[in-house]
């Protein structure tokens, strides 16, 4: 191994350990490790200005393909399209939350099913999955879990099974589209896939898995949920959906912008607008229509996550430029010995197991160049490996309370309201559900792509 490779690996491992230890905020960790990669790996060891330039990838902004893409292309280094898109969606979601959109939607659905516990349980699972196809699962669960607890207090049911099911479905819904989960945005923008590509490939299996999951959770949870709900409840005391709307004008505008974002995403393969353009357009539109509240929305954007992404891409760029990821790809190629089924199974299940315990974003960012290399050397279509990676990272995260952001937020909201969820309680039902969905995904990948 060369000195550059050794330093790239050491920096990467140190970054992962520091993220897990949580002593230093994770964006400082990735930015610090990114700076070390640029100076030590590229500057001192490789003496390569072009490696630094390629990894920072800032020149991409000036190219037409960054904003308008007729032919699909792959990106390298800092994935600015991912960052810009996530930032844009963050602004939009803040606008929607401020107007009361999410709370209104939850209350509206609850009132449509006449506040009956089991119908709420089922519709909230579906809503969680559908919303997560377009909006980050953290926001979806933040609102859904809070409303579930509020309804649970009024309707006297146990909110924990419902929150656990919502978490699972949010992660599943996220796997269905390119913008549903950060790993998918990374996979999509890095490998040049469209929203529609995801919808017709991972989306299809996510839909099948959603049906199975709803049935599974109904079987394992329905007794626990209905227990204690036999007492009469005065429905008139329940909050009205309209009470959730803080400002009618803002509510209408934010709903229209959300609808526009969905349309732009679904049609972006036809319009050739990249996700970077869509993210920027949606953010600008939200800010213009917010008027004097624009500054407040900008302040609420989670800059730490965006900085975390920037640092992370640089560190992964270090592994890529030094050829470490190619070595890993060659290793996977060797152990699968040309057996494509085994290769797919390794990517899907290793991604899933890893994502159950570590942040799936760095994992996906690291795996993208690996599957690119593997595809080139083993002659397997990149799409097949990409769908295996997406499904593995998105779904695997559901297995444990720390596997995905939605799990952390959901269990935290529950705990803060007097319903602590231990690891045992969480894994008892969600780990088997994850295994079932992964098994379905494995069969799906084998049948459809081999």
């Amino acid at each position: 191994m060369t000195a550059a490779q050794i330093f790239a690996v050491v920096i990467f491992v140190a970054m992962f350990v520091l993220i897990v230890l949580d002593k230093i905020e994770r964006h400082f960790v990735t930015l610090g490790c990114g700076a070390l990669t640029l100076t030590v790996v590229f500057g001192i060891c490789m003496r390569s200005g072009s490696a630094i330039w390629d990894t920072i990838a800032i020149k991409g902004f000036a190219t037409k393909e960054f904003w308008y893409q007729v032919t699909e292309s792959e990106s390298k280094g800092i994935n600015w399209a991912t960052i810009l898109f996530i930032a844009g969606m963050m602004v939009m979601v803040e606008g929607m939350a401020k107007a009361g959109f999410f709370r209104w939607l939850c209350m509206k659905i609850a009132s449509l099913v006449k506040c009956k516990t089991i119908p709420i349980f089922i519709t909230f699972m579906v809503m969680s999955a559908v919303l997560s196809m377009f909006i980050d699962s953290i926001t979806v669960i933040m609102f859904l879990a809070a409303v579930t607890i509020e309804l649970a207090q009024l309707l006297k049911f146990n909110p924990v099974p419902m929150i656990l099911s919502e978490i699972f479905c949010a992660n599943l819904g996220g796997s269905a589209t390119m913008c549903g989960d950060p790993p998918n945005i990374i996979v999509g923008t890095s490998l040049g896939f469209s929203f529609f590509d995801f919808l017709t490939n991972t989306g299809l299996v996510a839909g099948i898995c959603l049906v199975v999951s709803v049935i599974f959770f109904y079987i394992v949870f329905h007794k626990e949920i209905v227990d204690g709900t036999d007492k009469p409840v005065d429905i008139s005391k329940l909050p009205q959906p309209s009470e959730a709307i803080t400002n009618k004008k803002d509510f209408i505008i934010s709903s229209i912008i959300f609808g526009l974002a969905v349309v732009l995403l679904i049609t972006h393969a036809t319009t050739h607008l990249t996700v970077a353009t869509i993210g920027l357009a949606i953010a600008v539109l939200t800010l213009i229509t917010a008027g004097k509240d624009a500054l407040e929305l900008i302040k609420k954007v989670d800059y730490k996550t965006l900085l975390f992404f920037i640092g992370l891409f640089v560190v992964v760029g270090g592994l890529e430029e030094t050829g470490i990821l190619k070595l890993i790809a060659d290793f996977i190629g060797r152990i699968s010995d040309g057996n494509v089924k085994l290769m797919i199974a390794i990517i899907l299940w290793v991604s899933a197991i890893a994502s159950a315990f570590v942040d799936n974003i760095p994992f996906a960012a690291t795996m993208v160049p690996i599957i690119q290399s593997l595809s080139a050397s083993a002659g397997v279509p990149i799409e097949t490996l990409a769908w295996a990676l997406s499904l593995g990272t998105d779904i695997g995260g559901s297995a444990t309370p720390i596997g995905a952001s939605a799990n952390v937020v959901g269990t935290s909201v529950a705990a803060k309201n007097g319903h602590p969820i231990s690891w045992g309680r969480y894994c008892k039902k969600l780990a088997p559900a994850t295994v079932i969905v992964l098994a379905i995904s494995t069969v799906y990948l084998f049948v459809r792509y081999l």
Partner: protein, 201 residues
């Protein structure tokens, strides 16, 4: 009377809790220690035993994760509830004594705060623990070290500063020097002087 908040940090076995209870009696103000658990239990619907299980305990690093200020760790969430509780009490203008819960740092912006840290000689702490918990010397020493290690990790994680560092507290006092009673008398005088000063502002 101006607001008085007495924050008592303590080493295990130093008599800190007894000192805090006696100070609460002498100043005729409520104390939040065990009571903090029961109040949160009432508020959340959890049982006091459930809260006690996670009370003043550090989270398990490997099986915990934080996202945008949300944590899956039950220890973290119970701690946050307790911090919010004492902060709300302080904001309401109430005077009280609070034991532990990083209160010297969490309430540092309240002018009525008097923070003390009670430490003790290891031999004296062992004798005290042996008597109260009916343990032999070896077990008592291990018990003290284990408890203090947890308190230290809990404090340092939530505050980012070192538990027991004299710079965090108005006063650090070794209860083995004056004994429990003597320490209480001494602290009472100190707190009265501080309260008088606060009153005159």
């Amino acid at each position: 009377m101006a607001q008085l908040i007495i924050s008592v940090g303590r080493e295990f076995g130093s008599g800190g809790r007894v000192i805090a209870e006696e100070l609460a009696k002498r100043f005729n103000i409520p104390i939040y220690d065990r009571h903090l658990i029961t109040e949160i239990a009432e508020k959340t619907g959890l049982t006091p035993e459930e809260i006690e299980k996670y009370n003043e305990k550090p989270k398990h690093i490997i099986i915990s994760r934080k996202v945008r200020g949300y944590s899956n760790s039950i220890e973290d969430n119970i701690a946050e509830m307790q911090f919010n509780f004492i902060r709300e009490k302080a904001e309401s203008g109430e005077s009280f004594v609070v034991v532990g819960r990083c209160s010297e740092s969490k309430l540092k912006n309240f002018s009525g705060l008097v923070s003390v840290f009670i430490l003790g000689d290891m031999d004296a702490k062992i004798q005290r623990v042996m008597k109260i918990y009916e343990m032999d010397e070896h077990d008592a020493r291990e018990f003290i070290e284990k408890k203090d290690k947890k308190r230290k990790r809990y404090h340092n994680y939530h505050v980012g500063l070192h538990w027991g560092d004299s710079r965090l507290y108005d006063l650090s006092i070794n209860s083995s020097r004056l004994g429990i009673e003597g320490t209480i008398d001494y602290l009472e005088q100190y707190i009265k002087a501080r309260a008088a000063l606060e009153e005159s502002k």
